[in-house]
C-alpha cells in the first residue's frame, strides 16, 4: 500500500503509430497494425522473421546536438515522450529542476545499434582510435534515464530499472513507491527500446518469433489466437508523469488516473518459461497492494505476446484469479512487442481507455485458442465504464510485474 496517493498527470508516447497519445489511440481504436515488413532482416543469415513494429513520427533533430550526441534512438524516443509528458502535466523549470522530481526509466540493454557499430569498427583492426567520446553514453544501462534527465534539467533521483519486458512496469511501480514514501513528489517514468535484429534474433533462435506472416505483416502477432506463431519485436517509448496527489491538487493539475497497486515477483522455476502460478501470485499481490478484490477489476490488460507458452500461462493465471467474466485483451497485436517500452505504451492506452470509457480488443484474435478460452476476450471496441484496470508484464529472466490503475475519484 502506498503511504501517499500517486496520480498520473502526464503521458507521452512514441509508438509505431507516431508521436503522442492521440496518434496511439487513433491507431488502436481504428484497429490498425503497426507491424511492417523489414527488408533488412532478409540480409541476415539465420534470421527467419521479417517483420517488426517500428516507431514513426520522430525527428531526432528536434533535440539540440549538445544533448543528441549522447543518445541512441531509444534515448531520442524517451526524450521526446518525456518532453510531451511533462508538458502535458504543465511542469516548468521550477518543478523539473527543483530536486523533488526524479526519473525512473529503463531499457532492455544499452543501445544495441551503437554497440554493433562500435564492435564492427573495433573488430576491423583491433583499434580504439576511432572511438567517439560519447560512445559510452549510448551503451550504459542508464542511458535513457540520464539523457532524459540532462534534457529536462532534472536534479532529483535517477533510477534505471532493467528487466526486459517488465522494465517499464517496474519503472512505474518503483516510481510510485518512491513518491508514496515521500522521497520525491514527481517522477518521469517508463521505458524505451530501439529495434535491432539482435532482439528479433533472440526470439527467433528460441522459436518464439513470428515467422508465418512475413508476407502479411499486419496479420501478426496474434495474441491468444489458435494460429499465433510468436512475437513481433517493436520499439518506442512510453512515459508517465507520476505525482503525489497532494502536489497535483495543489497545482490544480488535471488528474488522468491513479496508480493504486504494484507487485513484482521472481519465478525461479525457469529463466525463459512463464509459470501460471507465479503470474497469478503476482496479480494477487498487486490486488492486495491496492486493497482490492478480483471482482473489483473491470479489465485485464494482458502481457500476451502471442507465444504459445506465454499466452496460455497468462490466461490460466487470469482465469484462476478473475474467473471468466473480466474482459481481457492484449495490445501486442497492434503494437508488436516494444520490449522495455511495452508496459508504459500499453499503460498509456489503458489510461485513455479509463478516461474514454472504451475497451480495445486484441487485434488479430480471430479464433481463440481453446487453451486461452478460460477468460473473456472482447470483440470489437466496446463502450464500457472502466474504474479499475490491472496491467501485466512478464519478462525473460523470470520477472513478473503487475500494476493497478484506477479512475481518480
Amino acid at each position: 500500500m502506498l503511504l501517499r496517493r500517486v496520480v498520473i498527470t502526464g503521458v507521452g508516447v512514441v509508438s509505431p503509430f507516431g508521436r503522442g497519445i492521440e496518434s496511439l489511440m487513433d491507431g488502436l481504436l481504428a484497429g490498425k497494425s503497426g507491424v511492417v515488413r523489414v527488408p533488412a532482416l532478409a540480409e541476415i543469415t539465420g534470421m527467419r522473421t521479417r517483420v517488426a513494429a517500428l516507431a514513426t513520427g520522430v525527428d531526432p533533430m528536434e533535440i539540440p546536438r549538445k544533448f543528441r550526441r549522447s543518445m541512441s534512438n531509444m534515448s531520442v524516443f524517451a526524450t521526446l515522450a518525456s518532453q510531451d509528458a511533462t508538458a502535458m502535466a504543465g511542469l516548468g523549470a521550477e518543478q523539473l529542476a527543483g530536486g523533488r522530481l526524479g526519473v525512473s526509466l529503463g531499457s532492455t540493454t544499452g543501445s544495441p545499434q551503437t554497440l554493433e557499430e562500435f564492435f564492427r569498427d573495433f573488430g576491423a583492426d583491433n583499434s580504439l582510435e576511432r572511438m567517439k567520446s560519447t560512445l559510452f553514453f549510448h551503451i550504459m544501462n542508464h542511458s535513457c534515464a540520464s539523457n532524459v534527465a540532462q534534457v529536462l534539467g532534472v536534479t532529483g533521483r535517477i533510477l534505471a530499472p532493467a528487466a526486459a519486458c517488465s522494465t517499464s512496469c517496474h519503472a512505474v511501480g518503483y516510481a510510485a513507491e518512491m513518491i508514496g514514501l515521500g522521497k520525491q513528489d514527481f517522477m518521469v517514468c517508463g521505458g524505451a527500446d530501439e529495434f535491432h535484429p539482435l532482439t528479433s534474433g533472440t526470439f527467433d533462435i528460441m522459436n518464439a518469433a513470428s515467422l508465418a506472416f512475413n508476407d502479411s505483416p499486419t496479420s501478426t502477432p496474434r495474441p491468444f489466437d489458435r494460429d499465433r506463431d510468436g512475437i513481433v519485436c517493436g520499439e518506442g517509448s512510453g512515459i508517465l508523469l507520476l505525482e503525489s496527489l497532494e502536489s497535483a491538487l495543489e497545482r490544480g493539475a488535471e488528474i488522468l488516473a491513479e496508480i493504486t497497486g504494484f507487485a513484482t515477483n521472481s519465478d525461479p522455476g525457469s529463466i525463459a518459461n512463464p509459470n501460471a502460478s507465479c503470474i497469478a501470485d503476482c496479480m494477487r499481490q498487486a490486488l492486495a497492494d491496492a486493497e482490492l478484490e478480483p471482482s473489483q477489476v473491470d479489465y485485464v490488460n494482458a502481457h500476451a505476446t502471442a507465444t504459445e507458452q506465454g499466452d496460455i500461462a497468462e490466461c490460466t493465471a487470469i482465469a484462476s484469479v478473475f474467473g471468466n467474466g473480466t474482459p481481457t485483451s492484449s495490445l501486442k497485436g497492434h503494437l508488436g512487442h516494444a520490449m522495455a517500452a511495452s508496459g508504459t505504451l500499453e499503460l498509456a492506452a489503458c489510461i485513455e481507455m479509463l478516461r474514454r470509457g472504451l475497451l480495445i480488443p486484441t487485434l488479430n484474435l480471430d479464433h481463440v485458442d481453446p487453451r486461452c478460452a478460460g477468460v473473456l476476450h472482447p470483440t470489437g471496441v466496446q463502450e464500457r465504464q472502466l474504474n479499475t484496470i490491472i496491467k501485466n508484464n512478464f519478462a525473460l529472466g523470470g520477472v513478473n510485474s503487475s500494476i493497478i490503475l484506477r479512475r481518480y475519484q
Binding site: 546536438r65 549538445k66 550526441r69 582510435e129 576511432r130 572511438m131 567517439k132 567520446s133 560519447t134
Partner: protein
C-alpha cells in the same frame, strides 16, 4: 591536395560532425565560443581530422593550443607538409 582544398575538407568535415553552418565558418571562428564545442567535442574533433586526413595527431602538443578554425587549418597544413617531407 592544395592548402585551399585542405581548408575546405577541414571545414566540411567539422560542419558535418558538429552540424555547423559551413557559410559561417571563417578562420577567426572560435571553437568554444562560436561553435559551442566542449571537451567531449574536442576529442571527436581530433578523430574527425585523423579520419579525414589519415594521420595521427592525438598526442601532438600543438593540438592543445588550438582555439580557432584558423589554428586548425594551420596545424593540419603544417602537419601534412612535415609528414610529406619526412
Amino acid at each position: 591536395m592544395t592548402d585551399q582544398e585542405t581548408v575546405a575538407l577541414i571545414n566540411s568535415s567539422l560542419a558535418e560532425e558538429f552540424e555547423f553552418d559551413l557559410a559561417a565558418m571563417t578562420p577567426e571562428t572560435t571553437l568554444f565560443e562560436d561553435m559551442g564545442l566542449d571537451s567531449l567535442d574536442v576529442v571527436d574533433l581530433v578523430i574527425v581530422l585523423e579520419t579525414a586526413f589519415g594521420m595521427k595527431i592525438r598526442e601532438e602538443e600543438a593540438i592543445r593550443k588550438i582555439r580557432t578554425l584558423g589554428d586548425i587549418h594551420t596545424f593540419v597544413i603544417e602537419k601534412k607538409r612535415s609528414t610529406v617531407g619526412a
